[in-house]
Subunit: 130 residues, 2 copies
Amino acid sequence: MSKKSNLPQPTDAELEILQILWEAGPSTVRFINEKLNEQQEKEIGYTTTLKLMQIMTEKKLLSRNTESRTHVYLAEAVQGDTQKALLKKFVDAAFQGSATSLVMQALGNHQTSQEELDEIKALIEKIEKG
Amino acid sequence: MSKKSNLPQPTDAELEILQILWEAGPSTVRFINEKLNEQQEKEIGYTTTLKLMQIMTEKKLLSRNTESRTHVYLAEAVQGDTQKALLKKFVDAAFQGSATSLVMQALGNHQTSQEELDEIKALIEKIEKG
DNA sequence: TTGCATTTACGAAACTTTTCGTATATCATT
DNA sequence: AATGATATACGAAAAGTTTCGTAAATGCAA
């Protein structure tokens, strides 16, 4: 049983920040801003990142510890739940709700390693056994 | 070998229009607008749909036959190519590029029928042989 | 042919998301 | 205490997307 907090869905820019927080754990604005600028060619200003993270905190996507001068931010949105919600929206919008079409497309396009295929096959078996 | 036309990616509202055109084939603004309003609770004005389709035509996502007074619009963006491009962007943004994670999530959440599972298994076998 | 309904054209308003300028506070160093 | 570097707060500009009001053109019916 997972509690459903029903957070708003993150925008694209917000999602990039969440990805970093999910991977790195609690972080400062400076750290996130540097990570973002490693990933992209276009330089993002520090205050831009700050503002986004403040907005995300208002939306409860993040929380922060303000004890020290340098605030430390924490992802409140759970990765799996967020992905699930985004995926549903995406399947509806781009594949008219057919998750299978999406899976076929995803498997077809990418080259997938044998290990990954095995993972997927295992999951399918598990589903078949019910 | 498929020609790459490299069209801009459609916005959400544009994608809804494309979905209808992909399914129904060449259509008028009135028809699209009615379909949209069947699908949604919120009423969308006729000129709103018209404007969007005009913009999409400028972007080459659509083309139109203007011979008769009532223009007939045609999807230029190919469904499979568009889905592929959108999927790549989505996998990167939400699953950090891991198509396998996305597939696992998609299979895990939705209940998938035995037929669909069989389809997927067949595709996996094909990939493994290929 | 006059008038009504329907269509397209055009521009701009309304919203949403992203970006940043500027002000102010805090900390460390001298 | 003064200086410089770094932090947060706030508001608003900039950019992107969606919506629609209004005007002008076209076709149809009386």
